[in-house]
């Protein structure tokens, strides 16, 4: 981003780097007003963080309760502690169908995200590093795909799957998960940022073919981008609800979201399902929360690459 205002680089730095919140020096009342605005700024941030964290805290405490205390008791006490009971109910109900769903989610999200990031990174690399006719037109087509609402696609995908006989199979959920035009867009940006052309040139001079150059040089260097695309696609597949909802009717193929929805629909009639839905939800979000906490650098890079240019 270039600034429209020219600043004389020779001028002495009169103020430290981040001064926009600094009160004028010397004024007596300024210190207390600065203290006030500091409290106000951080107060608003604390309130916002409470708003986002509160439902998650509720999820944790609610998952430890039996049905009676979940419905009647004080949610934030540990009265009616029954986490063990809830977990065993979760693992024994219908021969542990919940953990089958868990496995399915891992399969859809793991294989889908791995395939998607490989395919996206290869395409992004080609868009960045090669010159060929019609390149920008092709890339515009990819960007058009980014703007296509995915749920508007899900119904046609379902009708197509009916036609081809792939409805209600693993493939019906897996194949559409391998495609993410936004991943290609991100990969192109990452490729431009992480892989210097000179390094590729050196590999070519050393006699490496194009495949070899990509595989052992390009892909290595663009690894942060690969992880970012993987993380985002993994989350997107793990969280997807509409596609499995239309595609799958066999409970054994359900991912977690669909299975929990199924239980939730039953819970109105049978309250003993409430603790299973809540505990099941907690277990279902755990891997994503852990991934986001440990991979902070990567999701921030992904968001930034998408927005700041």
């Amino acid at each position: 981003m270039t600034s429209p205002v020219m600043i004389d680089p020779a001028a002495p730095a009169r103020t430290p780097a981040r001064t926009e919140g600094r009160a004028p020096v010397g004024a007596g009342g300024a210190r207390s007003s600065r203290w006030l605005s500091k409290t106000a700024v951080n107060g608003v941030l604390v309130i916002a963080a409470l708003y986002t964290l509160f439902p998650l805290i509720w999820l944790v405490t609610a998952a430890t309760k039996d049905a009676g205390n979940l419905l009647g008791g004080d949610v934030f006490s540990f009265e009616g502690f029954n986490l063990g009971g809830n977990l065993s109910a979760l693992s024994t109900y219908q021969d542990g169908v919940y953990f089958r769903w868990y496995g399915n989610s891992l399969l859809y999200a793991g294989i889908g995200a791995l395939g998607c990031s490989l395919v996206s990174v290869a395409a992004g690399y080609a868009f960045d590093k090669y010159r060929f006719r019609g390149k920008e037109k092709l890339f515009a087509l990819v960007l058009l795909g980014v703007l296509l609402p995915s749920t508007a696609l899900s119904l046609p995908l379902y009708l197509l799957a009916v036609k081809t006989g792939t409805v209600n199979t693993y493939w019906a959920v897996l194949i559409p998960s391998l495609v993410n035009p936004f991943g290609v867009y991100l990969s192109r940006i990452f490729s431009a940022g992480y892989i210097p052309d000179e390094v590729l040139e050196a590999a070519r001079i050393d006699g490496a073919g194009e495949m070899r150059t990509f595989w052992s040089v390009g892909l290595r260097m663009v690894m942060p981008g690969f992880v970012t695309v993987f993380l985002f696609q993994f989350t997107a597949i793990w969280n997807n609800f509409f596609l499995p909802l239309v595609m799958l009717s066999d409970k054994k193929l359900y991912p977690l979201s669909l299975g929990l929805y199924n239980w939730h629909s039953t819970a109105n009639a049978d309250p003993s399902f409430y603790p299973m839905v809540v505990t099941g939800s907690l277990l279902a979000v755990a891997p994503l929360i852990i991934a986001f906490i440990t991979l902070q650098r990567h999701w921030k890079a992904g968001l930034t690459a998408g927005s700041v240019k």
Binding site: M1, S3, A13, T19, E20, G21, K38, N42, V44, L45, A48, A49, T52, P55, L56, W58, D74, A122, Y125, A126, K129, Y130, R131, F132, L138, V142, L148, P149, S150, A152, L153, L155, P156, L157, L159, K163, V179, D197, L200, R204, G209, E210, F214, F241, L256, S257, Y261, V278, S281, A284, L288, I289, F292, I293, Q296, K300, L303, T304, S307, V308
Partner: protein, 312 residues
């Protein structure tokens, strides 16, 4: 951007240009094959299907026949009050949601960007975490927090003398807006904050030296400079809003509920396909939703591009 290999012909006999073309083709093919299978063909198939309808043959002995109907499905979708109402619901939803979301995210990002903010990394993570929660589970959590027997929130509100039924016909829209806001607020805060961090610091110094206050700097310098992020957030928020489905589906609790099974356009398409088995109508509805999304994205990007040119 990059230069293709310039070294002449290799021992293999292929020219550098041919090798480049083959390599580019190899890297692009997997994506475009999948792109075609999972995006282009479904779109074309939806367009095709939307032109046909099922008609009972003369005396009804042979079962339904599929006949070409031209734009008949589009006419019946657009002529259906329930489908049109879905767009009104979306409009009402966006009228609440977009200002709250964009305004809230910008304010929080500007606060994070001031020198006064503490524990920035913690706040970013805390605000972002809901985005890691599957939409369905987010909706489930909030439904429970809205349900009087389960919810500490409703209990606290009642003891404070506030009675609010989140499932009533007036309560539905705020209930859903709140769920969406919770899921996406932090995501957008992080985008805006990242854009603000990229703002040239010397520009801000210059403004401070010239006597501009915090508010002035925020509105006259920082906001105009992060406009491209704002456009992107608006674009994705609008496309996301058009897809509204999961949250209202969970709020739809059978007949008599304020949320009907055709409450949003997406729910209408879903019920056309799976409750009425009218695939032609469902396809037409999907195409119309995609068209509205395309039109809105065009307007948003166009509007902002014009502004940019006018400034330059």
């Amino acid at each position: 951007m990059s230069t293709p290999p310039t070294s002449g012909t290799r021992p293999g006999g292929l020219s550098a240009k041919a090798r480049t073309r083959i390599a580019a083709g190899t890297f692009l093919t997997p994506f475009f094959v999948l792109f075609t299978v999972a995006m282009i063909i479904p779109v074309c198939y939806a367009l095709w299907l939307s032109l046909f309808t099922e008609k009972q043959s003369g005396l009804g002995f042979d079962g339904p026949r599929t006949v070409f109907d031209g734009l008949g499905n589009y006419a019946s979708a657009l002529g259906d009050q329930a489908f049109r109402d879905g767009f009104w619901v979306l409009l009402g939803y966006c009228a609440f949601y977009i200002p709250l979301m964009a305004g809230g995210a910008i304010v929080l990002a500007l606060l994070l960007d001031t020198a006064l903010a503490r524990a920035r990394r913690f706040f970013q993570l805390a605000l972002f975490l809901p985005h890691a929660i599957p939409g369905l589970i987010a909706a489930l959590i909030w439904i429970y927090l809205y349900t009087p027997q389960l919810s500490p929130v409703v209990k606290a509100m009642e003891s404070g003398g506030i009675g609010f039924d989140f499932f009533s016909s007036q309560g539905t829209l705020p209930s859903i807006v709140n769920i969406a806001l919770w899921e996406w607020l932090g995501y957008n805060v992080v985008i805006f904050y990242a854009a603000l961090q990229a703002v040239d610091r010397s520009l801000l110094e210059a403004a401070t030296v010239d006597g501009a206050g915090n508010w002035r700097i925020a509105f006259s310098i920082k906001l105009p400079l992060i406009r491209s992020s704002l456009v992107m957030v608006l674009l994705f928020t609008i496309i996301g809003s058009l897809q509204l489905f999961t949250e209202p589906l969970i709020l739809n609790r059978g007949s008599g509920s304020a949320v009907t099974s055709t409450w949003t356009p997406n729910m209408y398409a879903y019920s056309a396909a799976f409750e009425r088995n009218d695939y032609g109508l469902a396809a037409a509805a999907s195409v119309l939703i995609a068209l509205v999304a395309a039109a809105l994205s065009f307007v948003v990007t166009r509007f902002t591009n014009n502004r940019k040119e006018a400034r330059a």
